[in-house]
C-alpha cells in the first residue's frame, strides 16, 4: 500500500491506496506554525492501527519550502558568481553576500579567463567571518564546462556546511535562472534539512521503516535522501499533486485541461495523452525565475472565495479574497455564497448568503437566484477565458526548426477535468457554458493527495558533446568525459540514458518505472574553413511524469463519489 500526503494552506489531505483503489482518506488541519507536526500527524492519522510493513512508500507534498520563500524566512547564504561577456552579473544579485569573481567560460565551454585563487580565498574567509554556512557557486556557461564551479567548490570544501553548484541543478542554458535556482537551493536547505531530520527521527522512534519520497514541482518524486541535495525542487509541488491526481482520470489519448478550483485561485494544468505538459525552463516564484523543472500551470485569481461586488453596472469577481464565504462567517459575497443560494451546498449560514447576494440582486433588478446564477456563470467564464489564453500561449511558443514550425504539435483540448473544493458544482456549470466535455475528478476532494501517492520518480539529463574539442559534459548527470571524432548522436543518447538511469536510481526510482524518453537530439556539423572539424551534439533525455507501475488503472477503480 502507498500513502500520499498533500499539504494545503488550511488543511492537509492524506490518503492510503492499494492497487484496487482508495483504502483510507483523512484530513488534518495544517498548523502553519508547525508544518513538521502537521506532516507527522497526517502520517500517524492515516496509519492508525496499521502495520507499517505493508506500506511500500509514502510521498509527501509540502508547502514548507514554498512558504519559506514567499514569507522570506530564509537564512542568509553566500553566493560566488563568475561572469563573462554579456549582461553584468550584478544585475542578478540575490542578496548581500553575492560576490562576482574573475573567471569566464565561453559558449563552447572554453576558458576565457581563469579563476583567481587568492580572490576566492579572501571571499571564503569573509563569508566565514560573517557566519555564512551555505554557499552557492554559479558560473556563466557552467553547463558547458563546470570546471570553474568545481574548482571554487574544491577550495571551499570543508569550510562550509553545504555547497551548491549551479551546473548540478539543470542542464539548461540560462545564467540568471541558474543563479536564482542555486540561491534558492542553498537558502531553503536549512529548513528542509531540519524537516528531514524531524521526520526521520520521528519514524525511527516509532520503529517505522517507510521509504519516504518528496513530490517535486514537475509532478515526479525523489527520495527523501536525495532531496537534501536539491531542496529547491520541492517548491510549488501543490499544483503538481493536483495535475497528477487528474492524470489518473484522464483518457489515454487527447488533450485535457485540468482546473483545480481553490479558495483564492484556480490552477490550470494541461495533459496530452495523459501526460502533464512541462514548463520549458522552470518555475517562477515571487521575484525568482528558476530552472527548477515544473509542470506548466497557470494560477488565476478566481476561486470559491473570490470577492464578488457589483458597481457601476459591472459584476466583478476576484482577484482579491477578503475572507471565507458569507455563509461561513466571512465579510463579503463570494461564488461559494451563490452555491448556497442555489442550494448546491449545505452546512453554512444560507441566510447570510441570501442577504449578501440579495443586495446585488436588488441593484441589478433581478431575483436573488438569478443573481446567484449570474455570479456562477461569470466565474466560469473568467476561468474559461484564462484557459483559452493559456492555450494560445502554449501554441505560440517559439520553435527553432523548419519542421517544428510546419509540423509542430498544436494543443486543442476538448475535455476539462475539475478538482478542488467546489469541483462538482462548478464542473456542471462549466459544461453548460462551454463546448468542453467537463467532469469532476473522482474523489475530487483528495485527488491531489492521490496524485502525490501515485507519482513516479522523474529525472532529466542533458548531455553536450563537442567532438572538435573531444569533450562530453552532462551537468545534471554530474559527468565530464572525453570523446573521439567518431562520437555520434547515437552514442550521446546511449550515454545520456545510462546517466539518466543512474540518476533515477539515486533519486529512488524503481526499475519498473524507467520509461526513458529523448526530448531533444540535435547534431551539428562544425565547419571551419570549408571542412568539417567536428560535431556539436546536444541531447536531452527524461523520465517523464507518470503513474507508478501497478497503479495505472486505479483511476477507474476509485469510486466516483460525485459525478
Amino acid at each position: 500500500m502507498i500513502i500520499g500526503l498533500d499539504m494545503g494552506g488550511t488543511h492537509t489531505d492524506v490518503v492510503l491506496l492499494d492497487q484496487n483503489g482508495l483504502v483510507r482518506q483523512k484530513k488534518v488541519l495544517t498548523d502553519a506554525k508547525d508544518l513538521f507536526a502537521t506532516v507527522l500527524k497526517g502520517l500517524d492519522t492515516i496509519m492508525d492501527g496499521l502495520d507499517a510493513d505493508i506500506i511500500s512508500r509514502a510521498v509527501l507534498s509540502t508547502t514548507l519550502t514554498t512558504n519559506a520563500i514567499v514569507q522570506n524566512r530564509i537564512k542568509p547564504v553566500g553566493m560566488i558568481v563568475t561572469g563573462g561577456p554579456g549582461l553584468d552579473p550584478e544585475l542578478f544579485r540575490t542578496n548581500s553576500y553575492y560576490h562576482i569573481v574573475s573567471g569566464s567560460i565561453d559558449h563552447r565551454g572554453r576558458e576565457i579567463q581563469s579563476v583567481n585563487e587568492d580572490e576566492i580565498k579572501q571571499i571564503a574567509d569573509s563569508l566565514k567571518r560573517e557566519g555564512i554556512s551555505h554557499v552557492g557557486i554559479v558560473g556563466k556557461f557552467s553547463t558547458r564546462n563546470p570546471s570553474h564551479e568545481l574548482k571554487i567548490a574544491g577550495m571551499l570544501q570543508g569550510m562550509f556546511d553545504k555547497l551548491f553548484m549551479g551546473h548540478h541543478s539543470s542542464g539548461n542554458l540560462n545564467f540568471p535562472r541558474r543563479i536564482a535556482t542555486t540561491y534558492l537551493n542553498a537558502a531553503v536547505y536549512p529548513i528542509h534539512k531540519e524537516f528531514f531530520n524531524a521526520v526521520k527521527k520521528s519514524l525511527e522512534s516509532k520503529g517505522l521503516k517507510i521509504p519516504i519520497h518528496i513530490l517535486k514541482a514537475d509532478g515526479g518524486t525523489m527520495s527523501f535522501a536525495s532531496s537534501i541535495d536539491f531542496p529547491g525542487q520541492t517548491i510549488l509541488s501543490g499544483p503538481a499533486a493536483s495535475v497528477m491526481g487528474a492524470a489518473l482520470a484522464a483518457p489515454e489519448k487527447g488533450d485535457v485541461l485540468v482546473f483545480d478550483i481553490g479558495g483564492t485561485t484556480t490552477d490550470i494544468g494541461v495533459l496530452i495523452d495523459g501526460v502533464p505538459v512541462l514548463e520549458p525552463l522552470g518555475i517562477e516564484i515571487g521575484p525568482y525565475k528558476t530552472l527548477i523543472r515544473s509542470l506548466k500551470t497557470y494560477s488565476i485569481g478566481v476561486g470559491g472565495d473570490s470577492y464578488v461586488r457589483f458597481s457601476n453596472n459591472v459584476l466583478t469577481i476576484g482577484p482579491e479574497r477578503m475572507g471565507p464565504a458569507l455563509a461561513y462567517g466571512g465579510p463579503e459575497v463570494t461564488p461559494t455564497d451563490a452555491l448556497f443560494v442555489l442550494e448546491k451546498i449545505e452546512g453554512g449560514d444560507r441566510d447570510r448568503a441570501i442577504q449578501g447576494i440579495g443586495a446585488i440582486a436588488k441593484e441589478r433588478g433581478v431575483s436573488v437566484e438569478d443573481a446567484a446564477r449570474e455570479i456562477i456563470e461569470k466565474t466560469c467564464d473568467l476561468i474559461l477565458a484564462e484557459a483559452g489564453k493559456m492555450i494560445v500561449q502554449i501554441n505560440s511558443k517559439p520553435v527553432y526548426t523548419v519542421y517544428d514550425v510546419l509540423e509542430g504539435y498544436r494543443l486543442n483540448p476538448d475535455r476539462i477535468l475539475v478538482l478542488g473544493g467546489p469541483a462538482a458544482y462548478f464542473s456542471k456549470h462549466l459544461g453548460l457554458v462551454s463546448d468542453f466535455n467537463v467532469t469532476a475528478v473522482p474523489q475530487w476532494g483528495v485527488a491531489n493527495a492521490i496524485g502525490a501517492a501515485i507519482a513516479r520518480t522523474t529525472s532529466e539529463v542533458t548531455l553536450f558533446a563537442d567532438t572538435e574539442q573531444g569533450v562530453i559534459t552532462s551537468s545534471e548527470g554530474n559527468f565530464s568525459g572525453t570523446c573521439n571524432k567518431s562520437y555520434s548522436k547515437e552514442n550521446a543518447i546511449s550515454d545520456a540514458c545510462d546517466l539518466l538511469k543512474k540518476k533515477s536510481i539515486l533519486a529512488g526510482a524503481s526499475a519498473d518505472d524507467f520509461e526513458m524518453e529523448v526530448i531533444e537530439e540535435l547534431e551539428f556539423n562544425m565547419v571551419r574553413g570549408f571542412y568539417t572539424s567536428g560535431k556539436n551534439i546536444r541531447v536531452k533525455v527524461q523520465v517523464k511524469p507518470g503513474i507508478i507501475s501497478g497503479y495505472e488503472k486505479i483511476g477507474k477503480k476509485i469510486s466516483p463519489d460525485i459525478q
Binding site: G83, G84, P85, G86, L87, D88, L91, F92, S104, D106, H107, R108, I112, K140, F141, R144, N172, L173, N174, F175, P176, R177, P287, K289, S396, K397, P398, V399, Y400, T401, V402, Y403, V405, L406, L522, F524, N525, M526, V527, G529, F530, Y531, T532, N536
Partner: protein, 440 residues
C-alpha cells in the same frame, strides 16, 4: 526585476534543419552559438523583451515584391517562407504598437534578392525586408520608409527593388565593391529617373573600424534620415563587418554594432549576413538586442577583442570622410541630378547582366520605366535566363497615376502575344498579382 527601457520584440529563427549545403556558410550551425549566448543571458526573461513565433508569409506577400520565375514555390524553400515570415511578424508587432522596436533574428537572409528572382544569389532567394515593408504598406498604410543596410556586402537586391521608389530611402554602407562581392554599390548609384537620391551608397575601405563606421552613421546617415523624415526605419543588420568575419575585411566590433544601433534607433532590425558564427554573432547580436531595448551593453565584449589592434589608420579615416562628403553632396543636389538624368525622355531603359552565384544562373535584363512626375512610374522588366525562361514583369507602383496604371495593363496584355513564356503583373494599387503562362 530586470526591465527593458524600450519594449522590444524578437523573432529568433535559427532554422536548425536548413542549409544551402552542408559546408556552406549559410548552414544549420550559423546561429547555434548565438542561440546559446542569448539563452544563457536569459534575454527572454527580461521584462519588456518578448519573443514571437514566426509566421509564414503567403505567396501573395512574395508576389507583391518579386517576379518569381516561374513561380513562388520554385524559388523558395519552407525556410524562406519562415524567415520572411519572421520579419513580417516583427513588423506587425511594431506597427500594432505591441513593442516599440523589433529584431528579426532569422535565416536565410534576403538583401541580395532583386525584384526578378530566378534563383539564389549571395545566399538570398527572396528579399525578406522588402516583403515585410510592402506588407506593412498594404496593411497599415505606412508611407515613407528608410532602409539602412549595414551588412558588409552591398545590398544590391534591396537597391534594385527600391531603385524607382521615391518613398523608400535606401542607404547601404558596405565594404568597397572593388574589394568584395557583389562588386557594386558605388556613390554614383543613386536610383532611377523618378527616384534619384533615394538610393545612396556609402562604400567604405577595407579595415574600417568602429571609429570610421560610427562617423559615417553620425555625420552622413543621421542627417539624411532627419531630412527624409521616414515613418519607419528598417536596419538590414548584417554582422559581417566584424573583425573576425572570415569572408570580409573590416574591423567593426560588438560594441561598435551596439553603438550603431543606439544611434540609428531602427524601428525594425532584420538579420542579414555575418559568418563569424562563434567569434562575432553571439556578441554582436547581444549588443544589438540590448541597444534596441535601451539596456546597458558595455560588458558585451568579444573575448578576442583588442581595441588597439583594430584601430584604423588616419588614411582610412580621411578616405571615409571623403566618401561621406560625396554622398551628402549627391543627396543635397538630388533634384538637380534628377532633372539632368531624365533629359527629355519619356522612358528610361537599363540593360543588365545579373549573376546568381549561389545557384549558378545567368540573367539578362532590360528594364523600362516611364518618367513620371505624378507617381513612381510604371516599370517593365524583360528578363531571360540561361535556364530557358524569358519573362516580362510589369510593376504598377502603389500610388500609380492613371496613365501609368493603364500603360502597365497594356504592357501586360501585349506580353501575352510576344516572345515571352511567362508574363507577370504586379498591380499594387489593387493589391492583385497576375501570372500568365504563354504557350507557343
Amino acid at each position: 526585476m530586470l526591465k527593458a527601457k524600450y519594449k522590444t520584440g524578437l523573432v529568433f529563427f535559427p532554422a536548425f534543419d536548413w542549409a544551402i549545403d552542408p559546408t556552406h556558410p549559410e548552414r544549420e550551425e550559423r546561429l547555434l552559438y548565438t542561440q546559446d549566448q542569448v539563452f544563457e543571458e536569459g534575454l527572454f526573461d527580461i521584462d519588456g523583451i518578448t519573443e514571437y513565433k514566426p509566421e509564414l508569409v503567403t505567396r501573395e506577400d512574395v508576389e507583391r515584391v518579386h517576379f518569381c520565375v516561374p513561380d513562388v514555390d520554385r524559388v523558395m524553400t519552407e525556410s524562406h517562407f519562415i524567415s520572411a515570415g519572421g520579419a513580417k511578424t516583427i513588423g506587425k508587432a511594431v506597427l500594432k504598437k505591441r513593442v516599440k522596436r523589433g529584431f528579426a533574428l532569422v535565416r536565410p537572409p534576403g538583401h541580395h534578392a532583386m525584384r526578378v528572382v530566378h534563383g539564389g544569389r549571395g545566399f538570398c532567394n527572396v528579399n525578406i525586408e522588402a516583403i515585410m515593408i510592402e506588407y506593412l504598406r498594404k496593411e497599415y498604410g505606412v508611407k515613407r520608409v528608410a532602409v539602412v543596410d549595414t551588412d558588409c556586402h552591398h545590398g544590391d537586391g534591396t537597391q534594385d527593388i527600391y531603385w524607382h521608389d521615391p518613398d523608400t530611402l535606401f542607404i547601404s554602407i558596405h565594404q568597397d565593391g572593388r574589394t568584395l562581392y557583389p562588386g557594386s554599390g558605388f556613390t554614383d548609384e543613386l536610383g532611377g529617373a523618378n527616384a534619384i537620391g533615394t538610393t545612396l551608397n556609402i562604400p567604405l575601405p577595407p579595415n574600417t573600424s568602429d571609429e570610421g563606421y560610427l562617423y559615417t552613421i553620425e555625420k552622413v546617415v543621421l542627417p539624411i534620415l532627419e531630412e527624409f523624415k521616414p515613418d519607419l526605419i528598417v536596419n538590414s543588420a548584417g554582422q559581417d563587418n566584424h573583425f573576425s568575419d572570415p569572408i570580409t575585411n573590416m574591423n567593426f566590433s560588438a560594441q561598435g554594432y551596439a553603438e550603431l544601433t543606439s544611434l540609428l534607433k531602427p524601428d525594425i532590425a532584420v538579420l542579414e549576413g555575418g559568418y563569424s558564427i562563434e567569434g562575432a554573432l553571439p556578441y554582436v547580436n547581444m549588443g544589438i538586442i540590448l541597444a534596441l531595448a535601451g539596456m546597458d551593453y558595455s560588458k558585451v565584449v568579444e573575448p578576442s577583442f583588442n581595441r588597439e589592434s583594430y584601430r584604423q589608420s588616419p588614411d582610412v579615416m580621411r578616405y571615409i570622410q571623403k566618401v561621406g562628403k560625396i554622398v551628402l553632396e549627391n543627396w543635397h543636389k538630388r533634384e538637380k541630378l534628377k532633372k539632368k538624368f531624365r533629359g527629355k525622355n519619356e522612358f528610361h531603359e537599363r540593360i543588365r547582366n545579373i549573376m546568381y552565384d549561389t545557384d549558378g544562373i545567368y540573367e539578362k535584363q532590360k528594364e523600362k520605366i516611364r518618367v513620371c512626375d505624378d507617381c513612381a512610374g510604371v516599370l517593365k522588366i524583360d528578363s531571360s535566363s540561361d535556364r530557358g525562361y524569358h519573362i516580362l514583369g510589369v510593376h504598377i507602383p502603389l500610388h500609380a497615376c492613371r496613365l501609368c496604371s493603364s500603360i502597365g495593363k497594356m504592357w501586360y496584355e501585349e506580353a501575352k502575344d510576344g516572345h515571352f513564356n511567362w508574363a507577370f503583373l504586379q498591380d499594387r494599387p489593387s493589391d492583385t498579382y497576375h501570372t500568365t503562362k504563354i504557350n507557343k
